[in-house]
Amino acid sequence: MSLVPSIPPTTEQALFLGMAGLAAAASLGVVAIKSPIRAALCLVLNFFVLAFIYFSLGAQLLGITQIIVYAGAIMVLFLFVIMLLNLSAESETRKKFDFKIPLAALVGLGVFGIVGSQVLLPLQAINQPLSANDWGKPQALGYSLFTVYAWPIEAVSILLLVGIVGSIVLAKRKV
């Protein structure tokens, strides 16, 4: 019952279906488009739509973080490297049939079918969000991050520091 939208879909359902269709099409584009720069732009679109899906879940802080960190910083890094390396579409020299593609598609369909039938079907009775409506506010998340999750936050900050130092070391001319 809940796997298919009601006819006609409610406003929220129509909104979600539009955003989800866009995100799914963009993620297909990342996999299927040969040119790396177009795949990267598809990924930007996917991240941006995903941010709005986060908003629809009420997670305001994480939606904004998604736009800033993923669609902003990380994708700029990707595009920068693509242009620096001057990557073109994957070389067509090896035109012989790549057996990995149908195999991977088959495995993907299998994963989708198995997880979908075993995990998604038992959960389809859950229709109502149970958390508080203001659960995504910066106050609640920030308070938790600096009390309950103080040690994980410290570990993540050390990880980011290591990442900064590591990328500088790797990017040096003579390693």
Partner: protein, 114 residues
Amino acid sequence: MNGVPLVWYLGLGLFMFTCGAVGVVIRRNPVTVFMCIELMLNAVNLTFLAFARYMPTPLPGVAAQPQNWVSGQAVVVFVMAVAAAEVAVGLGIIMAIYRLRNEVDVDDMSMLRG
């Protein structure tokens, strides 16, 4: 959002994860492989947020009021930080390999094979 069942979010996350996993296997360009890994991380983020929204659970030892139940969001914050660090280091490695060999193709990178 009222009226949208949990499985729709999970289905979108599952689709994105499958796309990413297939892309990691079939693409030969390491930058694109990285983008597929990002796709999988985002799918997992979406799944975390959907579960946290529809099936919230309190942490042991945390105040009982529901606005403090933000474990799902906290995990998403950590995943984002790890993804940022991973991309910075990974793209640095790709740049180093490109400088060494002047071409990047994951099928040809077999120097680490024993």
